[in-house]
């Protein structure tokens, strides 16, 4: 198990290197001059050159990439924002927890509700509850989240005035963003749980459990669910990744000061250091989540557990 973990953590290094290199290449070919954007239209050619030299923008791609990796790894320094002149690590330290909170809150909500709805739908297949839930899930998958976010604000903040429409400090402020961001994932997890459970419920070992005289609740939660969980975990992992991306839109709709908004503003302003930092953090979050998913697999599926040893 320790060897498995060690191997997986070492595997994070090439992934992060690959992601950052890809990002550097993309930024390199993207049109737009940060120097002109930062210094403005009236800046002299000299000051532009000075800015480029200062930020190594006049160097070749590989040199810039090498410098970035060196500074990040050796000095834990990802540079300063062109716009605010504040260190990137500080900016991210301020905003990343917000985004992580938004995404984790949403994935917890999506998983708990998705599992519950999916299990009930599978147990009561073709019932009214099942049919209505499946229609709502279909709506949940097909509604764009910025649209859903605006609708929710209109209903619950403007008309009913139950919760505030922006910010992310109190629970009441977090409720709408969590619901908005989790809607799609919740729908997907509900549908996945339903179909996975339906498959397992008909299996022979569930019949064996019933033949033992086991109660229906234990048959479903112990015998069926643990087997049905294996594909559901995959989906939850993938969805968590999507949520980190989706957080950018949600943060815009609800004016949440998260890393998503920071990154979008930075891309518009060609604020390369911020973009690089944000993408590196998101990539690392992805890798860590995938590792957690693999550990969950091993916990659920004894076949994998014996292989991990």
């Amino acid at each position: 198990m320790t060897r498995f973990l060690l191997r997986r953590i070492l595997a994070m290094i090439p992934v992060c290197l690959g992601v950052t290199f890809l990002l550097f290449s993309l930024l390199y070919v993207t049109p737009g001059d940060p120097a002109r954007l930062v210094l403005g239209e009236e800046a002299t050619e000299e000051s532009l050159q000075e800015f480029r030299r200062e930020h190594y923008l006049d160097r070749p791609l590989l040199t810039r990439y090498g410098l970035f990796i060196y500074n990040t790894v050796v000095h834990q320094d990802m540079g300063r924002s062109y716009m605010t002149r504040r260190p990137v690590t500080g900016e991210i330290a301020n905003t990343f927890p917000v985004t992580l909170n938004l995404a984790s809150g949403s994935i917890v909500l999506a998983t708990v509700m998705g599992l519950a709805f999916g299990i009930i739908c599978a147990v009561k297949q073709y019932s009214i509850f099942d049919n209505i839930t499946m229609v709502i899930a279909m709506l949940g998958i097909s509604t764009p989240l910025f649209y859903l976010g605006i609708l929710l604000i209109l209903w619950f903040s403007v008309q009913l005035q139950w919760v505030p429409s922006s910010g992310f400090d109190s629970l009441s402020q977090r409720l709408l963003p969590w619901i908005t961001l989790s809607a799609t994932s919740m729908s997907i997890i509900t549908r996945m749980t339903r179909s996975s459970m339906l498959e397992v419920i008909r299996s022979d070992y569930v019949r064996t459990a019933r033949a033992k005289g086991q109660t229906e609740r234990v048959v479903i939660l112990k015998h069926a669910l643990r087997n049905a969980l294996i594909p559901i975990i995959t989906i939850v992992g993938i969805q968590f990744g999507h949520l980190l991306g989706g957080a950018i839109l949600t943060e815009s709709v609800f004016s949440i000061p998260g890393m998503g908004r920071l990154a979008v503003d930075a891309i518009k302003a060609r604020d390369y250091p911020i973009v690089q930092g944000a993408v590196l953090y998101i990539a690392m979050a992805y890798v860590v989540i995938n590792l957690l998913v693999d550990l969950l697999y091993a916990w659920v599926d004894p076949k994998l557990r014996t292989q991990c040893r």
Binding site: Y205, G213, Q214, N227
Partner: protein
């Protein structure tokens, strides 16, 4: 009432139906069957005859929907199973009636250790601590010929024959009064089959459990069973003690089955078969369900189902020739007793 007391199981006029898209499938239609304490009955029939459905009906495990018990009664130890509450049924399932399923590869839960799967059965029906249950589970593993130390292992770490041993250990963990073995050796290769049959023979003596052995293999049944019931299209066509049935099969279907067993001493180019196919369970023929394939069928065969007739003491046949309507061309029908059950 007397008969109910002496019989551990008494099924009367059982009808089980499945609602499907193509129509109403009458899987079991008017089945009568009884089983004495300690008796081993072989339930023989081809695929789709309703053997497994009968077993699931006894266990009260017919999946509903699409299935339902449409009529009849199942008396277990003199009490009507159909009248019991779900709670009472749960105590009987596993505790008093246990079942071994056909495919050991899929009937064990892949994410639970085998000792946990055996211990679960023990915890459900006996007042024991978790530790005692696990201990007893490991004892059961020893009893079915597996090393008790393998208890914490998972099903994927066992071979097919070993898994079937685990399934047998689960079924027998609470010393049930009735064991239903649904084709326990069909999914196994021949050498393992022999081992499992021998194990079942030993355990049958050890626990003195009444057993219903469901099979389509007349050879397997001959090895283990005291009596044999031949099932076809949801009904019992013939029931007798094994000796009488193997020596002197009376029903044309049973005779056809025996004729279909290849004779190793003769050099034949074609194997004997029973002409035709089993009837469509959504559209059973009126009268005797075997009549369309029967060489001895007469007009009387399509009028009403033939009653069970006691051809010899303990040897029952449901054929209109025995009822005195047909020709009686095959074999004497000396002792025509009254209908059984």
């Amino acid at each position: 009432m007397d008969q109910q007391r002496e019989h551990i199981l008494d099924i009367r006029d059982l009808r089980v139906q499945y609602h499907t898209d193509t129509g109403l499938v009458k899987a079991v239609e008017g089945l009568n069957l009884s089983l004495a304490r300690g008796e081993t009955l072989g339930l023989v029939g081809e695929t789709g005859a309703g053997k497994t459905t009968t077993a699931l009906a006894i266990m009260q495990l017919i999946a509903s929907p699409p299935g339902r018990i449409a009529g009849g009664s199942i008396f277990f130890e003199g009490e009507d199973m159909l009248a019991k509450s779900e709670e009472e049924k749960r105590h009987i399932r596993g505790g008093k009636i246990a079942m071994i399923f056909q495919d050991p590869m899929t009937s064990l839960n892949p994410v639970l250790s085998v000792q946990e799967q055996i211990a679960e059965m023990i915890r459900l029906h006996q007042k024991v601590t978790d530790k005692e249950a696990l201990e007893k589970a490991r004892d059961m593993l020893g009893l079915v010929g597996l090393r008790p130390e393998r208890g914490p292992d998972y099903p994927h770490q066992f071979s097919g024959g070993m898994k079937q041993r685990v399934v047998i250990a689960i079924a027998l963990a609470c010393s049930p009064r009735l064991l239903i073995a649904d084709e326990p050796t069909t999914a196994l290769d021949v050498t393992i089959q022999a081992q499992i049959l021998e194990l079942m023979q030993q355990l049958k003596q050890h626990f003195n459990t009444a057993t219903i052995l469901i099979s389509h293999d007349l050879g397997v049944v001959a090895q283990l069973c005291d009596s044999v019931a031949i099932m076809y299209a949801g009904r019992i066509l013939e029931k007798a003690d094994a000796k009488s049935l193997y020596a002197n099969p009376q029903h044309p279907y049973t005779q056809g089955l025996f004729n279909s067993i290849p004779d190793m001493t003769k050099n034949v180019t074609r194997l004997n078969t029973i002409a035709g196919l089993p009837p469509d369970p959504t559209e059973l023929p009126p009268g005797c369900c075997f009549a369309p394939r029967c060489a001895h069928a007469s007009g009387a065969c399509s009028e009403g189902s033939p009653r069970m007739v006691e051809y010899k003491p303990g040897h029952f046949v449901a054929c209109s020739r025995m009822n005195g309507n047909g020709g009686g061309a095959l074999g004497p029908a000396e002792e025509r007793g009254q209908a059984h059950g």
